[in-house]
Symmetry: C2
């Protein structure tokens, strides 16, 4: 059994409102979600990065090709296996063999651990699993025979992508009869964060009506710019213009809710980046004065694609930290379809509460037994771990629902 480090609020602000509303209305919320899933089936799996500033709780990244499974609390393996079974059961299709198409970083040990754990979970759910190697950049082992994808002699019933398709949809996935999970249309080539957060805003607006809250409390403001070239500074005017607009909106909200903090904005690639190319600014001048290191950071995104579209997103403070070492922490919640399976805290000793924690040096802190997002405990304080996790579970599912709507319209 692991020892768990307690995560506490570093700066406890007027968060009662949103927490309380969610806890008090949990039954209504569960009913609402159920109806949503009937219309919009959740994608096969996901991991959701969440930030909690007390006055605001938002997903900041919705990953539909999650890694990091190795960081989950292994005591809960039977729950994960059950959730995998559910996710595959709901397809109501005869599936026995599954081919996993992974990312290309074959030398990243953490990723390989995650991939190994994911494979074992699916195997334990009773499926035959094969992982393609060396993945999509080497297509020689993939064959398409009568619209059935075959890999190295293995003909799967379903293909599971654990590759975000940043490098494009490989041609061997064209004209394939087998079910492709979550979908070949939801990779970063076709998807953008702007699209996702548009769907998310829509979901939040419905959800907020249900609860009678200001949707800003769960929905980060954002703006997007067209083509930006950080080398030539082309498009910088647009960045400045949108950043000004954003700062104004955030400041107004901070004033309205009497929040004595400095607004900040996150600038990041509009398509997935693995934590690369993310900068945090708290004034317009910082955009004009981006130094060479920061500009280079925005150029070096995954697969060396020249970053061209960026999203400016309202920064959400993370006012949670590890109790003893006071390292800033943010929860990451995992799911298989609409079933939450818990997750962990990502912590970082060298980052501030307004910085991206998904970077080298991060440490993962699994969630203890039973505090697993599924239901609140009304007999406990709203700040209790179990109730906080329920709130995270709700926010995570709002993001998953947004992704489900994306998927519904893309497929």
């Amino acid at each position: 059994m692991k020892a768990f480090q307690e995560i506490v609020y570093s700066n406890r602000k007027n968060h009662e409102n949103i927490h309380e509303k969610i806890i008090a209305n949990h039954q209504q919320i569960e009913g609402w979600f159920r109806n949503q899933w009937l219309k919009y089936p959740a994608p096969f799996y996901s991991s959701i990065d969440i930030r909690n500033s007390g006055f605001k709780i938002s997903p900041i990244d919705t990953n539909l090709f999650p890694a990091g499974f190795n960081n989950l609390n292994s005591d809960f393996q039977s729950l994960y296996v059950t959730a995998v079974k559910h996710s595959l059961d709901t397809l109501k299709t005869k599936i026995n063999k599954i081919l996993i198409i992974p990312e290309d970083h074959t030398r990243n040990e953490h990723y390989l651990d995650s991939l190994g754990y994911l494979s074992r979970l699916i195997e334990k759910a009773g499926y035959e699993v094969k992982v393609s190697k060396p993945s999509i950049t080497d297509n020689s082992k993939f064959k398409n025979i009568n619209s059935l994808l075959e890999y190295d002699g293995f003909i799967p019933d379903a293909i599971l992508l654990n590759n975000d398709l940043s490098a494009g949809v490989p041609s061997f996935l064209d004209n394939v009869k087998q079910v492709i999970l979550p979908s070949k249309n939801i990779g970063w080539t076709k998807r953008s964060k702007t699209d996702h957060f548009n769907y998310y805003s829509d979901v939040c607006s419905n959800f907020s009506n249900l609860l009678g809250i200001d949707s800003w409390m769960i929905d980060p403001e954002f703006r997007n710019c067209g083509e930006i070239n950080f080398k030539t500074k082309q498009g910088e005017d647009c960045l400045v213009y949108n950043a000004e607009k954003l700062f104004n909106i955030i400041s107004e909200k901070y004033e309205k809710y009497d929040i004595d903090e400095k607004p900040f904005i996150i600038i990041k690639a509009d398509s997935g980046t693995y934590g690369m190319g993310v900068i945090s600014i708290d004034s317009i001048d910082q955009i004009k004065n981006l130094n060479r290191k920061q500009r280079n950071k925005m150029l070096s995104t995954k697969g060396n694609v020249l970053l061209n579209k960026v999203i400016l997103q309202e920064g959400v403070y993370s006012f949670e930290e590890t109790k003893e070492s006071c390292n800033v922490a943010e929860p990451v919640i995992y799911s298989f379809s609409n079933f939450l399976i818990g997750g962990f805290y990502r912590t970082h000793e060298n980052k501030a509460n307004n910085e991206n924690l998904n970077s080298p040096g991060m440490i993962f802190q699994p969630i203890p037994l039973n505090d697993i997002c599924i239901s609140p405990d009304l007999s406990l304080d709203i700040d209790s771990q179990i109730n906080k996790y329920y709130v995270y579970g709700v926010v995570a599912r709002l993001a998953i629902l947004a992704a489900a709507k994306e998927l519904f319209n893309l497929d």
Copy 2:
């Protein structure tokens, strides 16, 4: 965290065959089950009593209105809640409110604990739950308005029976539009153990073909008699005749597999009895010489219905016991739909390994973390707890599948 008492073999016989076959073919088995569930959806919930003599592993009772939820390992609550969600999700119907119709033993504290825990699990899954009280014998609070059942002002979307309907199907369940779980047709008024074990034999025959084993290794032989009156001894000839036949079959099998044990037979009501009215015999003479106490036992079944039909079933030794106190033990496995959620061992300090353990004085021993029936661990010994539980999970699902087929044909 609980301390778990280890359960060990008291008499380790040539059980390798069936255990090994199941462990080695687990992937094929999982695929086979998946296809079965597509055709025959599992009933809402169940608990399965299993006996393991090493050379034979069989379900001896399949309860479709289970109690004993309070004996489950509460560390796994998130798994149970997830399984409840799955079981209700698969109905693909809009359900928010659930009425539970419980058993009538309102003074049995264990039962009330179980009922309370079951209600909380469903509430934690996000449903509004009401438990009818004082249950079906007092019908005054039930109303049927335009084919919608209403209880004390509560109009549920689904009705969950936690009452085995031994006393008959209450009239207020007639012409009800709401979904009734698992079904009003699967109560003991309409169902018999003979029916169930006929379906079970059929399931075992298919399963055994898949594995290339003698289905006797998982399927207890049985015979049924027509009307028996233990007071007047009417029908005793039939009992003797069938018992002789059964003893012959069992002896032949014991001889074939070189099993140096005394065959025994269980005589019990052909409809559910809560552990009442069960006797164990190991010779024909014992039928003829049933004493008054034993005869009275067969008369005092649940709800004081005069026992008339009995089933004679091959007795299965339980060669498992608690490590320290050497009390005989048998596993009880729980499910929501086709999802196993583990279970516990039922142990008894005053019972022998050929006796019914479901009687006053029994003690429950929860299953430790992770040993939860879902998947085997090929790196461990086949006798390891985790692999033994996987085997129990397979046998439990064979019984659930038999019940699913019953339901399929009854509804």
